[in-house]
Symmetry: D2
Amino acid sequence: MSPSDLTVATSIASRFRAVREQTAALCTGLSAEDMMVQSMPDASPTKWHLAHTTWFFERFVLSRNKTFKAIHPEWHELFNSYYQSVGPMHARPMRGVLSRPSLDDVKAWRSHVDEALAAWLERGADAETLALVELGMNHEQQHQELLLTDIQHALSCNELLPAYDAHIASVPGEPVPLRFVACEGGTVEVGYEGEGFAFDNESPRHGYLLRPYMLANRLVSNSEYLMFIQDGGYHDPLLWLSDGWATVQGQGWSRPFYWQEDLASAFTLGGVRELDPSAPVTHLSYFEADAFARWAGARLPTEQEWEHAAASVPVQGNLLDGWPRLPHAARGAGLLQMFGDAWEWTASPYVSYPGFKTLPGALGEYNGKFMSGQWVLRGGSCATPVSHIRCSYRNFFPPHARWQFSGTRLARDA
Amino acid sequence: MSPSDLTVATSIASRFRAVREQTAALCTGLSAEDMMVQSMPDASPTKWHLAHTTWFFERFVLSRNKTFKAIHPEWHELFNSYYQSVGPMHARPMRGVLSRPSLDDVKAWRSHVDEALAAWLERGADAETLALVELGMNHEQQHQELLLTDIQHALSCNELLPAYDAHIASVPGEPVPLRFVACEGGTVEVGYEGEGFAFDNESPRHGYLLRPYMLANRLVSNSEYLMFIQDGGYHDPLLWLSDGWATVQGQGWSRPFYWQEDLASAFTLGGVRELDPSAPVTHLSYFEADAFARWAGARLPTEQEWEHAAASVPVQGNLLDGWPRLPHAARGAGLLQMFGDAWEWTASPYVSYPGFKTLPGALGEYNGKFMSGQWVLRGGSCATPVSHIRCSYRNFFPPHARWQFSGTRLARDA
Amino acid sequence: MSPSDLTVATSIASRFRAVREQTAALCTGLSAEDMMVQSMPDASPTKWHLAHTTWFFERFVLSRNKTFKAIHPEWHELFNSYYQSVGPMHARPMRGVLSRPSLDDVKAWRSHVDEALAAWLERGADAETLALVELGMNHEQQHQELLLTDIQHALSCNELLPAYDAHIASVPGEPVPLRFVACEGGTVEVGYEGEGFAFDNESPRHGYLLRPYMLANRLVSNSEYLMFIQDGGYHDPLLWLSDGWATVQGQGWSRPFYWQEDLASAFTLGGVRELDPSAPVTHLSYFEADAFARWAGARLPTEQEWEHAAASVPVQGNLLDGWPRLPHAARGAGLLQMFGDAWEWTASPYVSYPGFKTLPGALGEYNGKFMSGQWVLRGGSCATPVSHIRCSYRNFFPPHARWQFSGTRLARDA
Amino acid sequence: MSPSDLTVATSIASRFRAVREQTAALCTGLSAEDMMVQSMPDASPTKWHLAHTTWFFERFVLSRNKTFKAIHPEWHELFNSYYQSVGPMHARPMRGVLSRPSLDDVKAWRSHVDEALAAWLERGADAETLALVELGMNHEQQHQELLLTDIQHALSCNELLPAYDAHIASVPGEPVPLRFVACEGGTVEVGYEGEGFAFDNESPRHGYLLRPYMLANRLVSNSEYLMFIQDGGYHDPLLWLSDGWATVQGQGWSRPFYWQEDLASAFTLGGVRELDPSAPVTHLSYFEADAFARWAGARLPTEQEWEHAAASVPVQGNLLDGWPRLPHAARGAGLLQMFGDAWEWTASPYVSYPGFKTLPGALGEYNGKFMSGQWVLRGGSCATPVSHIRCSYRNFFPPHARWQFSGTRLARDA
């Protein structure tokens, strides 16, 4: 191993430690009991996130190291999420029953795995292992965001409406007028290509023919969404997709997920807070974002339109860097809030790019098998780690999902 | 009205009568009781198809004529399918309870509407009316296909397994070897543009950038699909989309919808028939088509790839022209079975084309509101009227739907 | 065979013909289409009732006759209701798909079976056969009532609200004041014992210790039930059993099943009719009868209390004798409406009597296996054949069932 | 207050403390995480049991004391179970989300309530208050049993199958031959009458006419139940009630709830243990107990038969006295295991006794509103506090419930 290799190795080891510590840090203020709650099948207990991300490193990385010995092989079934090729898995809706292993035992396991893997990285590991560690870190960062959205959901189901952090920062916003920015069309390149890490679903980079389009300069705000509600948006079937209208009626939807009945406050990671009119509306489903756009005489951008516009914008914004902050109003000029604050539903169903290849082996199950019935979201949110997001990043959720920090940006034909 | 206008009018009047008569003709051999059956919420009774298509002409066309008086306005609620903007509608899963109006009353209503509309057309109607009549005829042709697929489903639920027509033609096939045809990429035009009729969802015609690709010369055959089954295709989760695997397990799927347990025969419009090994496999879900393609080391074509290739193929094949025939094996060379025999699932979710505009008014509900959770199928089937299909035609169904004549064609990256 | 045996045989043959003709007569005015409708899993199409009762005679009676040959053995699966011991059965919720055999074919089958059985009876059959014929006739009479309640339900699901018979008799009533009749307690005998026919669940006759009690002189009337509604009965959880309250909330119940929103009219076999305030309220669930009684400061009678009181009342009232009439107000003095008008929910769950023995063989499945989760109703309704009901007769339905002619009579502790 | 009153007061205060301490003691060995788990809607987390029983004392007893001030009134909604008359309640299936209040906070609340109530009792409280304290203690004892059955269920859902107490006593049994004891009939008295505490549903004591009957001398054993399985009991529809057979097929039942696939071991409070052939079979549903009895040529006893026989048997057996023990085989002669080991399903639906009066006020909701769709069980189990059970005690569960210590004893007509 040459000195420069060592630097790389050290660097990945320290990044590995940092990612793992960030996850642990997000649990500050949560009790072992809080970390047990599974409030719906889509969400997982905090402790499960801690354990599953550890399992991921042990199962897919450390298992490559002949000298490593798993201390709890019997836990693998509990913390396998959905990898059919590596064995059976505990039923997803039943993750909240796993009182054993205890939080302390999971933490000890985390330490054990962290030490083993960091040591290996510091000693120097092969390129394939390093790639898997990159994947594992990115995987863990995804779970950092889910950890936050899942605990918010868990706490929201308790009539006491306890805060994740009662003092979480809520930056008072000033309204930036909504205007549409003209974007040129033509054959553009989308998808990832480069040296750094990206998920398989971002590749290959390929040409895509765009017509000229207009993109709103910022996310839709709470006050704009309130106008939609007050104009009867939730009562007019003509604004909705057919499946959306069935959901509105079946579920009795009348406002964004965490808004309170007064339409003036919402449950947040900081407990119930007054709605900031100029902050972006969040916790919308695709159906709501789409209906709002139709009401506004606009439409949602396609993911290619979004990516093309975002390519010229620096990757910065209200993203997760240490401790989360609530979504807040934009400031400044140009295309604002392209990164951070809230994921943006696009008009694009989540399917593969032309020439898409899944990862080999079990990790081929990571992304590809979910390419049915979901829509692409772009740009990250206040709960997305700042080092995790990029212009080509594709998030995806079913059209009725509302517990993420999901908002919307309008687009129009030019 | 000039003489040439009169010719147009006469011509549309005679086409109108022909379409209406084709629908009635498909009911030959069905009793009033057969025409009552609704065997699942997705399917409708034959009588309901007769009445709904009549309602469509009365509600959207004849209502424009001040001198026309509806003889059964109280039936409108019963036969409105899903048009929220024109009033309430009878619950879809309860269409099978409508013993009143009787078949005879529905037929009399059809005649009344047919006479009134044909007379108007012969007298000469305005261009907008003519356009709506075109839409109504195409709408009726869609229901001709559904009438056939729905009655097949209805009869399949009866342990006696009665035939729609015991003597329906089943053309013995000869195997054409499967091979892949190379197709050039580049910026191609897709979507409809022209004088004739097309649905709103086929527009606007627009450029699309394609990579070179390979398209199978024919549909996948029963014998090829049998190999997939015998190779354990229904038992290997790695071949399936996540939602598909959940469906396979939840519904206990182990073979195409109408195949019998012996894997050697299937229920058809002609009753139980031996499977023709070289005939195309039909009644597949998207999930099955996709899993088969993965097993075969191939993939499904996108709708743009399909359309680009189909543009150079004449619109002919085993389509509905008078009386239906069963799907059968291809003959000849080149791209076979692009039209007819079986709809082809594509890799494209059903969404709007760039610049898409819905029809004005209530008819805006025709297509656009279903652009969520469905996949595009192309090419028509043996139950698709021959004058109804075209290269740009987009059919769509949810990924679990199996009661249509839906099959699959393989594609590959070049 | 002696002359007196012949008289018995002739008599049973003529009764058999009369019962079969009564069933056919109830179909007057119904089309083949009406007779196809299954509007919910609990209800069956009229044609199915015609066929199932025929199957019952063929399968359980004629099959004993070596010279009889079933002309449609392949129909047995279609029309077996729930007899696991005699083979597979068509799925209950799918009875509405059976367009084949046609109504005409079913009628021809009925005739064939009728002729064969009547001829046998006239020739003279063994005692066991005669007993099975008695059971078959009583079985058919049960289906006569179900035929009426099922077709009413079927027609109620059509927005046209067609009448079974628009001219059905509705006898205007005069109010008889509600008063409680004192009944003595002590050890009484309940259950059937005698020469005539009774179902297995009415036996054995046995002693039962009753405390003195009070029984209302007539059924609860529409006007009395309206007071319960107007007093907020459907909004006070304390009036309801826990399962009842869950049903009220889950189903949105706010009035008896067929009452219209105006609380002044109801859908009946005669179409929508004004409510007669003094006629008995019908189409109540057990939950509603029980809640009403609690609201009224009373309770439901037990089946033993009911039977003890009914033993001294002649078996006459508004029962089915030829053509049905709607429930109407009582007239006269004493215990009124004990028989006819509406079945009376009792406070007794449907369980076996001490010493109960099921019938031998497949017919043991007739009653006993339903002794779980149902409640006993007594007294018959306007749709119960007059020769079918008796003091010891036990009908039973689940507590949420509302499509029968089910009403209620109050009781109190003495 | 006289000295003897003081003795009573002291005595009830010390009993109150003892009951509360017994509940706390049952939590030994459980972590805060274990105590969070709700594994199904019917079961509650251990912490919820601790809190709900405390709420019961605070809401129904201490609230009568003007000087008492609730320290956490906002918790009342969380821990109200089903008392509609005292306000809203947290959704039952979501009890597992209540990470707040924490276990420590709940314990502190328990102490606060215990001190306040014990002090009041020691000072002397009025008779009505004392009666409510008795009710509260009995209520808490019911929850002691549920705490054990619910935590067993919770642990059973974890693939690690952790034990509640790995060292819990399992007394090796010796087989006592099954024989039937003849019991005389006649008019007997059933129901509670006396000075001590009993639930409202045990009253009033009343006469009941019994026919002579035979009662098995002990509970059905594991080895006997195994014979039923091996004889195909779970595959013969004729042995089952109709609802039972639907449950067996729908749920795929093939053995008692906690039996392992090997039919030789079962999950217990002590983890997976070998089945003791002569120990009573437990964790049966009513449907299974009933089917077993039919297979055995016997029947279940009615609750009156059971009570009449039990009246002459001392209230002792394998009951909860400090720390639970597993069910084990009987020893000795006469009627064995009438109390303890396993609750015995009876043939009696749970309905009110003649002359039944519910408690006044909100506590009227305690028992009466559940008198629909459930069956009576008698005799207590190894998890029933020894001071809680009596001859007239009526437990009740729906017929499919299997997570209690529910077994069965055979009966026969004499």
